[in-house]
Assembly symmetry: C2
Homo-oligomer: 139 residues x 2
DNA sequence: ACTATTTCGCAACTTTGTTGCAAAAAAATT
DNA sequence: AATTTTTTTGCAACAAAGTTGCGAAATAGT
């Protein structure tokens, strides 16, 4: 695991620091997306708030993670797939947010349908966020 | 115009106050969605920040406006269509945000496709936000 | 091992959103 | 139309979220 993490950082020309390794590891351990607060409250480790903000921004810039638009407008981040590269995200999959446990999933195998835009509108990116009950919360 | 505004407020059992009339009027004058800051910086009128927050929340509760999920996670509001009622929004249309002028449109005639969820996931609501170039920014 | 560069953590600050409460305005009542 | 009741407003104070500058510390390059 440690080697994978270090490798990802190096591939993206980032200095391998403890904060970056630990935060990236959190993403790899987590099933769903993480918010800034999730990382800050990570009991194992204490990270400075500013360091978290800067690390997340760096990862987004490098295409390691991407932000997920949520209906309650809170910022969440999830790992990108391999196709993403610096400055160029290809996250055309659907996101799912559970109403009960609030976990955010990337549904990699549900792809975004292409929609016909009205005259004059040119679509460049489509974000789809589905909410409902996830597989762990089904009674 | 004033009568329409007053009528909407009365239909929703809201006291007709100056702030509510003016803010609701802003929405009716605007082509796109409005953020809190747009209303606060409305040159014509000065509203207290707190009043704006509370008025927007009231309008959302009554089904007069709805929030739009954006990829940059800023909160925007737009007028609901007639079918919306208190506590029960029916905004299953697609939203469009222009990369250039940042205007947010409700594409009322583009409906949200239904997607097949993976086993165990139960979809309750689907939000679609398309970004690109709007009809006013085409060169 | 030493030097140059990058990153971190602290402090201070800005922006965004919330809560309690007295004053003002709107609605209901007489 | 005047008075009472209810609702809403605006202020202050606070809480949360995010940003910036800068010296100290850690990482990378030689």
């Amino acid at each position: 695991m440690q080697e994978l993490i270090t490798d990802i950082l190096k591939r993206n020309q980032l200095s391998v620091t403890e904060s970056r390794r630990k935060i990236l590891e959190l993403f790899h351990q987590s099933k769903g997306a993480l918010a800034h607060a999730d990382i800050e409250q990570s009991s194992a480790e204490h990270f400075d708030r500013v360091t978290i903000y800067r690390t997340l921004q760096t990862f987004v810039d490098k295409g390691i993670i991407h932000t997920i638009p949520t209906s309650d407008n809170s910022v969440r981040y999830a790992l990108c797939k391999d196709e993403c590269s610096a400055g160029h995200h290809h996250d055309n999959h659907v996101h799912f947010i559970c109403d009960q446990c609030d976990t955010t999933y990337c549904l990699d195998h549900v792809s975004v349908p292409s929609l016909k835009m009205p005259n004059g509108f040119e679509a460049k990116q489509t974000d789809v966020v589905v909410s409902g009950i996830c597989k762990n919360c089904q009674s």
